[in-house]
């Protein structure tokens, strides 16, 4: 039984990391209706910039992080100005394609500037089992995972407060509801989009540092976007809590499936199991767990 809990808790904690990436998608989708496929590339870009600054200039992580943050904000603002602004009023699929183009661009850019080798990122948290859980319940849970889950929890709470309590947050939700109506009541649309992309860049930075510290900073980081997609469709594209709950469900069920069902069918089912799970779920609730109900009129 303790093995089951070990896998289950490990899955939940991994799910928090998926949720973090999914959050970046949700933020941008909520505020502009753009399905930003480049979020994975942004995670990669953030992590390799951070590591690259440390390696190249020999500064400490505490200086590198704000510098990376500045770079992410610049990247977000540039994206808004160069890519999205000319595409206002185009169909969703065009915007989606543009973000795939952006993915290629950012991947190339990150590797051009910082090289493509795998590098370590040390954020000072050790990946060892928590001692008291091991003693008391005989369950090995990584200290690193727990800490990163804590960081995610803080971040999510902060974002939720930001969305619901501040003036900018309200403006954001207004923009998400209706671009034109928001413009009509005097909300500066482009400024809002700039803020959203900057926040998404920040989320990408946190995700990139946590994932990078776990698995090394490398090109494979871009694929965390593919891990976040089933989380999104399960939780709903427009919901911050959906991203969290979806992440937990996907993380836990994926690990359990891999451990308990995997050996029966040859293993490696982690790649598709979350998608099939999310797909089956969608057949019951087509808008995901917490997504807005889609009302269609003629």
């Amino acid at each position: 039984m303790s093995f089951f809990f070990e896998v289950f808790i490990g899955g939940l904690l991994a799910g928090v990391m998926y949720a973090l990436v999914a959050l970046g998608f949700v933020l941008i989708y909520k505020a502009s209706g753009v399905f930003n496929f480049a979020q994975g590339a942004m995670v990669f870009f953030a992590a390799s910039t951070c590591v690259g600054i440390v390696a190249k200039f020999g500064v400490s992580l505490w200086i590198a992080v704000p510098l990376t943050m500045a770079a992410m904000v610049l990247l977000g603002l540039a994206t808004e100005k160069i890519v999205l602004r000319p595409l206002v009023n185009q169909p969703e699929i065009t915007l989606f394609m543009a973000t795939i183009g952006l993915t290629f661009f950012i991947e190339g850019l990150a590797q051009l500037i910082w090289g493509s080798e795998v590098r370590r990122l040390d954020i000072g948290i050790e990946d060892v089992p928590l001692q008291f859980l091991l003693d008391r319940f005989n369950i090995a849970v990584s200290q690193f995972d727990v800490t990163s889950a804590g960081i995610c929890a803080v971040l999510v709470t902060a974002l939720a407060l930001f969305f619901s309590k501040t003036k900018i947050g309200r403006a954001l939700r207004a923009v998400a509801d209706d671009h034109q109506a928001a413009l009509a009541v005097g909300i500066p649309l482009q400024q809002i989009w700039g803020i959203v992309w900057a926040v998404a860049g920040f989320v990408a930075l946190v995700a990139g540092m946590l994932w990078g510290a776990r698995n090394g900073v490398q090109f494979a980081l871009t694929f965390v976007a593919l891990k976040a997609l089933p989380v999104l469709i399960l939780g709903g594209f427009t919901s911050v809590p959906g991203a969290i709950i979806g992440g937990l469900i996907i993380g836990a069920s994926e690990k359990l499936a891999e451990v308990y069902i995997g050996p029966m069918v040859g293993g490696g089912i982690e790649g598709w199991f979350p998608y099939v799970l999310a797909l089956l779920f969608l057949l019951v609730r087509p808008e995901g767990l917490f997504g807005e109900k889609i009302i269609r009129r003629i």
């Binding site: 890519v83 185009q90 183009g101 190339g108 593919l226 997609l229 040859g266 969608l282 057949l283 269609r296």
Partner: protein, 352 residues
């Protein structure tokens, strides 16, 4: 001046409803086909066949398939490569398990298998739409490739997972040179493109477009949504399946799951977006663009003597930037530019 339809009167219904109602178009198409069938095989080098022309035709076929689904029926899909893989592996297995089966029949059966898989994975489209569906089609992509990798029967228990494709032999003639493979591919692509061009003018095509434009309205006025959508998935997957079989047999020469990655799905999606969603000629334009672009970029990088790593990263960046540029400048794709050119030619040399 050259492209004037004045004086071309249609006096029968048949003349009015033919595929290319304008004489210049008919002459142009005949010319293009003549060059493709007769001119190109005489002058092209084996490199040109195997590195440019064959992949161009195969990708165009796959793009036609995706265009049915996305361009005409309005269902966004990221699982194209999976359907191609099904077609390739099914054809391989038919040829392996049934000795003496005609190659073309194996291709058709492979396409039918892909169509069946397409129907199964098209079922969610009845409930979900838009990006939810796009993300859900990724399930097809990962699940199918995983199946083909893990289940030994599909790969005939090959240890490496890389299988040499069977020889293409039709009526005793072996298609083993690049030129002959090119001609075979060209024939198949031409037949299927004409079929599609006709299909979208029938009530089937019209019902797809009705569903694309507004599926609720289409249902209200009596289109059967389920049949229409699943038919779109089936036909689209059939085209992709045949393209996948050709990709393995005429281009790669091997049948392997890794060849049908998500990357391939994206490339085919790029093709229809850049070429023009919902247009047959757009699939060909888009395929040509995506096949030629890396080659051009390579030549440029080579002439500038850039190191390989820099060159490949620059290629990624240029590729991404060009896609964005294209979407901004002409969101309706190259097919729209072609249409504009034709409209201008109609009035040329007088602007009004």
């Amino acid at each position: 001046m050259f492209y004037r339809e004045a004086g071309q009167f249609k006096i029968t219904y048949q003349a009015d409803s033919q595929i290319f109602p304008i004489r210049q178009d008919r002459v142009g198409i005949a010319l293009v086909l003549a060059i493709a069938f007769l001119g190109v095989p005489l002058v092209a080098s084996p490199y040109l066949f195997s590195a440019v022309l064959i992949p161009f035709l195969i990708f165009a076929l796959a793009a036609l398939g995706l265009n049915i689904l996305t361009g005409y029926a309005g269902q966004l899909s990221l699982g194209t490569a999976a359907f191609m893989a099904v077609g390739a592996f099914a054809s391989y297995n038919f040829m392996l398990r049934i000795p003496g089966i005609p190659v073309l029949l194996a291709f058709v059966l492979g396409g039918l298998c892909a169509a069946m898989v397409g129907i199964v994975f098209g079922l969610p489209s009845l409930r979900i739409r838009g990006f939810y569906l796009a993300a859900a089609t990724l399930a097809t992509q990962f699940f199918v490739v995983w199946c083909l990798t893990k289940i030994g029967w599909f790969t005939n228990n090959s240890s490496s997972g890389v299988i040499t494709a069977q020889k293409i032999v039709i009526l005793g003639y072996e298609f083993d040179t690049p030129a002959s493979k090119y001609l075979l591919t060209l024939c198949i692509v031409c037949v299927m493109a004409v079929l599609l061009k006709n299909m979208i003018r029938t009530n089937v095509g019209r019902s797809w477009m009705a569903v694309r434009d507004m599926d609720v309205a289409a249902e209200v006025i009596g289109f059967r949504l389920m049949r229409t959508k699943l038919l779109a998935f089936a036909v689209s997957s059939f085209y992709c399946g045949v393209a996948g079989a050709l990709y393995a047999f005429a281009y790669l020469g091997t049948v392997e799951p890794e060849a049908y990655s998500l990357d391939l799905s994206f490339r085919i999606l790029f093709m229809i977006i850049i070429g023009g969603v919902g247009s047959v000629i757009g699939a060909f334009f888009g395929s040509a663009f995506i096949v030629l672009l890396p080659i051009f970029l390579n030549i440029i990088a080579h002439s500038l003597a850039l190191p390989t790593s820099v060159a490949s990263n620059l290629e990624l960046m240029v590729f991404g930037a060009l896609i964005i540029f294209f979407l901004i400048v002409e969101p309706h794709g190259l097919a729209r530019l072609w249409q504009i050119a034709k409209e201008k030619l109609r009035l040329w040399p007088f602007p009004h």
